[in-house]
Subunit: 575 residues, 2 copies
Amino acid sequence: MGQKVLIIGAVALGPKVACRLRRLDPSAHVTLIDRDNLISYGGCGIPYYVGGDVADLEGLYSTSSHAIRDDRFFETVKGVNVLSQTEVTDIDRKGKTVSVRNRATGEEKTLEYDKLVLATGANPVVPPIPGADLPGVSVVANLHNAKEIKEKISKGQVESAVVIGGGAIGVEMAEALADLWGVETTLVEMMEHLLPTAIGPDMGLIVKNHMEEHDVRILLGESVTQIVGTPETGVEGVKTNKRDIPCQLVVLAVGVRPNAVLAAKAGLAIGPHGGILVDNTLRTSDPNIFAGGDCIELTHFISGQKVPMAFGSLANREGRVIGTNIAGGNAQFKGSVGAFCLKAFEMGVASAGLTVAQAKDAGFDPVHAVVVQADRAHFYPTNQLMYMKLIADKTTRKVLGVEAVGHNGDAVKARVDAVSAVLPFGPDVSDITALEVTYAPPFASAMDIVNNAGNALDNILKGKNKPIDVADFLKLFDEAKAHVLDVRGKPESQPFVERFGDRWVNIPQDQLAARISEINGNGNGSGQLCLICDTGPRSYEAQCLLASHGITDTVNIQGGYGMLKKSAPDFNNPA
Amino acid sequence: MGQKVLIIGAVALGPKVACRLRRLDPSAHVTLIDRDNLISYGGCGIPYYVGGDVADLEGLYSTSSHAIRDDRFFETVKGVNVLSQTEVTDIDRKGKTVSVRNRATGEEKTLEYDKLVLATGANPVVPPIPGADLPGVSVVANLHNAKEIKEKISKGQVESAVVIGGGAIGVEMAEALADLWGVETTLVEMMEHLLPTAIGPDMGLIVKNHMEEHDVRILLGESVTQIVGTPETGVEGVKTNKRDIPCQLVVLAVGVRPNAVLAAKAGLAIGPHGGILVDNTLRTSDPNIFAGGDCIELTHFISGQKVPMAFGSLANREGRVIGTNIAGGNAQFKGSVGAFCLKAFEMGVASAGLTVAQAKDAGFDPVHAVVVQADRAHFYPTNQLMYMKLIADKTTRKVLGVEAVGHNGDAVKARVDAVSAVLPFGPDVSDITALEVTYAPPFASAMDIVNNAGNALDNILKGKNKPIDVADFLKLFDEAKAHVLDVRGKPESQPFVERFGDRWVNIPQDQLAARISEINGNGNGSGQLCLICDTGPRSYEAQCLLASHGITDTVNIQGGYGMLKKSAPDFNNPA
């Protein structure tokens, strides 16, 4: 008889380990253990089930050839035993056994292992607010939650819903509720912007504005203090520090924490964020015990820090590594750059590496460029603007992170993936200016936005391009500490000239060289001279021209009018 | 007065050098010289102008903010002088002058330079066949050709057209003619498959079948021997080595050659393929003369060989490097992996690195995997199959190339770009299994196709997965040297079982372990046992299972039925 392998947890990583291992070592005796009766499901698909893109719950635990991934499937097709509805109560590392209890029958037994795999995932954080346990308050942790939420809505019991948390799951759930079901949806996030762990405030603002266009109310910098209702009526509303919101459904999406209870109890090493610590072969501090997926901490390739990374994609890749290694191989999983993407209505959002805030926290001196450019040749009819940010360390020029949003999600993914893929190789900004990506007019510009993001950041780092972010510009302008030189054509700039008078001057780029003498620099009481064009390149060119005439104290609004319009629709269209 | 810089050639690279240089060195006196009156156009956009996606020719030489990029534009906006319709007749390197002649007025003069840039591009190859100079025969080299072709069609003078050459321009032009205009279009290619320098025969076959579905007739392995017609009537038809094809338009798209005439005449070093040789700073053998774009040879990062690479994207990036270096910087352009993409009707095609044939030519021992998988989560409604090939060297496991086709071009681009971006870093197959790309169900599978391509190739290299390509299988099967074990469900396999009798046996995967004894191995006269499933993973799993029962001499049809269906529609639907 071959080696006995027990795997605790049968979603994502667990099944991947089991199947990989069985293929490499057909003699292995592999058992998947899970608390739930539903296993091996695509948890990331829950918002699409709730929102109706996936019609049946089975869709989330079927294979691409429509086989249901249940106990029988794993037993007959994969040769893997499954103990579902079974809780592991204890691990005896010395005796190499685990104690289990069947949740349906109460039966307890002890199972031996040669190798043990912890795939215990993460638990949703339930915030310590009164009412969090009321009927109608749900986390998004498993298919039972998903079913409950969808049933409640489809029975017509939900007119209004509140999603607490503006991370990926919060955003996806808000879309699901508002889009298909027309539920009046409010998303409440404590931080000042959406998706704060994945993107910066500027990109977050674009996502927020887009979601608001789709009738999701977004409340930022606001905390829920109480969920109101009774055990009989269920949820009736939510109180924040600023207001009351009536609702019949509350979705808690404030994040997840690694589930390392069993590991900790067994005395395995635990990391600074409560996840299980593993080496590059994904072994825990006990060489006979592997761990992977949402319950571990990984090395972040950019910060060098150990952090939990709850991504189904990492779990699957880690699962293959663990399966290989249990079968006697020597596969490595060295870390992650936190590659992230998400759909928010018609918008794609993607990022990798660190945000500016995270980079500062990690001790870097981040400098960033924001570039706005068409996602295909500007003459190709389906082109749409994409909004991209590239971040590097000022001293070393090493790339720290990338973020992008745009209306063609696959195109957004393409740019971020290209950068994400090279990040583990430690690229500097010059590597991004030279990043070789494919080009044809239906899919890209000859100078792709990703290269231009590198170019812009290179120019900024070299002091040629002196940028100002839209948010900083808006603040200065609002405080009357800035004036604008708009180098676009007269038709585009006219509404702003009319509205702001001599605070918004228009000299089209082709007249600029001849009209340099008209330029009001700074220091005459009108404040910082800010240059603007459509998306940034012409105002940068104007900045170079002005500098060559001795007017050096200008700043170039990053992403130009394109970024301004997406960031501040009110500025663009005063009510 | 600043340095005098002359740039010969004002499309793509030339203008990029000029503008970058002027921004970095406002004192530079920069002059663009071009034979043509139309400059700085997007030549790659010509098929989209001909096909109507781009309505007006101006669209191809306008900026994204709709300014026409003509002589005046460069002079007033960019501060760059333009001598259009001007031919450079000679370079005097010792005297640092060039002789020019105005093609309109005949005026000749001599211009001095401190730095000279050769951006002379490539010339379309005109094959030495009788009739190639007839009216109605056109290359696709500039906007005048484009206009001529479009006018001829829009005047109703073209019922049938022949495109000679199945490279990128040939495919794009064939689409343009057939799609918008309903012109009866035949594409003739000497090689045995489409896009032979960019992708392998298997991917080429998918593109061919797709184009045929869109009513383009594709003739492979066929050479045009004569273009028929008279100077008065123009083209009347094309003779190949196999047939006569009546037509009123012939598009020559058999490739381009670096235009290095001036460089060679001036005694600059020329490479093995006739392109100008440059170092990593893009200086020619004369340090005062730079060159870039289609007229040079670049180091191919994978083969290490010097090759011309006619891509607008490379030209633009090289242009920035030359501009930087003339301004006193030290930017580098080290080479290329030949990243390529193309739209063919509703299909996207992309590749990077070497094809299998190119890899063999370059001295490698290439091994490849073909993977077919949905481009997003298989439960997400808009998912479509993507077809991907990953190639590595057998000994070193270094990745040599990647190819993909699929119906969502941006998604295809995303996968190839991620691999393309890391290729210069010298990844091995394990780096592709671990390649970190973004994941969310609307945009990817948890185990992305790019990772699965790495996984499959890893399994092949380790001898676990013994593959056979669809083309090889079809040949064997056709010669009655193969039989099939189909592990799909009964409904899917039934038509083939009925058609092929005991040469096509169905045992669904979930019954396979119990029915091992029914398996006919090889050596009993029925030939090679080939395993098939939908797309490959289940037949691989079956292969592992059979091997564990001593049946080791099986092969797994790469890409499964998905690949078979796309490769051989006739096999799937016998007429």
